[in-house]
């Protein structure tokens, strides 16, 4: 359910203030752009900004970020490498057996098995290709309306943190209360806090 095709299912937010200096934001986007996972570092995940239409595009200039005068479109790319536990276990069993034969032992100490496991995991990660996921973001710079097209808790938190780091702006999520704040005065929204839910069921006499 993305921004670019098919049915849409975004989370909605309101950004509370406006960007003052877009050149600074473009520099920040470059700073927080997506960078390939380096298995040598042992990292399992990498994330950062990409162009809306190109998961491999990390050059950020106004024409690649703005759609029309006020709409900013970006992708949050998250790459992850995972080693399936069952596969790891099978290969580890074989390595342990080979090492026992090589050293003429029946068993290996726990520490040696842990070391073999660590080496094997790193090796399998180096051989694996990461899974790539891209979540789109659309942001109207005048109204402050922002849609993020990802819903899992971890992804949303990654997005919120990265948006704040990059744009330096806070936002509030949609809810009956925040929607009311856009429509009513402050005094009226305060009144909503005192309201008790009606049941639409006639009370018994």
């Amino acid at each position: 359910m993305g921004a670019l095709s098919g049915r849409m299912g975004p989370l909605g937010f309101f950004v509370k203030s406006k960007v003052g200096d877009w050149q600074l934001i473009l520099d920040q986007l470059t700073r927080y752009r997506f960078q390939d996972l380096d298995p040598a570092t042992g990292a399992h995940q990498s994330f950062g900004w990409v162009q809306l239409h190109d998961p491999f595009g990390t050059r950020f200039e106004k024409p690649s970020v703005f759609f029309g005068e006020h709409i900013v479109g970006l992708g949050l790319r998250i790459d992850a490498i995972s080693v399936p536990a069952a596969q790891l276990k099978l290969h580890l069993t074989q390595r342990v057996r080979a090492k026992c034969e090589e050293e003429g032992k029946e068993r290996l100490p726990k520490a040696d098995i842990a070391s073999l496991k660590e080496d094997l995991q790193a090796e399998m990660m180096r051989r694996s290709l990461p899974t790539i996921k891209v979540y789109e973001m659309l942001y109207h710079t005048e109204t402050g309306r922002l849609w993020f097209f990802g819903k899992s808790k971890g992804v949303v938190q990654t997005f919120l943190d990265l948006f704040y780091e990059t744009f330096g702006l806070a936002m509030v999520p949609d809810s009956p209360y925040t929607a009311a704040c856009e429509l009513l005065t402050e005094a009226e929204t305060d009144m909503l806090l005192e309201i008790e839910q009606s049941s639409f069921v006639a009370e018994l006499d």
Partner: protein
């Protein structure tokens, strides 16, 4: 009170809004007035009712026009309110289909009116506009509800009308 508490404390308004909206749609045969002009709102083939009481029971009504069926009336008589519902909305010949979750104030599965854009660039702008418009319509309907809700006399009268309607 901090923002999180305000947000969490007022989520039931979303259930009440959707339940009120179902009444408006059924009683008005889909025709509603908003500050954006007349709109058609139809409750489609899935409505989820929940009980507001702790450990609230959930009723999922499916099938053709469940809003007009006996099960919806029974759910309301049991004090249940709508958590989410599949809706279709028409404004000036354009139609949106989507699911709306009241307490989260969340649209999902939004099918927007057809887009005639020739480039990806134009398509993004068109889809943004369509998504923005359906949000505006839902906010306009919510505004109608809030204006009534904040006027104690008018809201009481509205509740009596809704009670009588569903007691039929």
């Amino acid at each position: 009170m901090d923002l999180t508490k305000r947000i969490e404390g007022t989520r039931p308004l979303g259930n009440e809004f959707l339940t009120w909206l179902m009444y408006q749609s059924v009683a008005g045969e889909g025709q509603l007035q908003t500050e954006m002009g007349p709109v058609e709102v139809w409750f489609e083939d899935k409505i989820t009712f929940v009980s507001p009481f702790a450990g609230g029971e959930v009723n999922i009504l499916k099938g053709e026009s469940p809003a007009q069926g006996e099960e919806a009336v029974t759910a309301i008589h049991q004090g249940k309110q709508i958590e989410d519902a599949k809706l279709s909305v028409n404004l000036q010949g354009r139609r949106w289909d989507f699911t709306f979750n009241g307490p989260k104030f969340l649209l999902s599965g939004v099918k927007v009116p057809s887009i005639s854009a020739e480039t990806e660039f134009e398509a993004v702008i068109d889809r943004f506009d369509h998504l923005g418009t359906i949000e505006q319509i839902m906010r306009a309907l919510y505004h109608n509800y809030l204006k009534l809700r904040l006027d104690a006399g008018k809201w009481q009268a509205e509740c009596r009308v809704i009670e009588r309607y569903f007691a039929r």
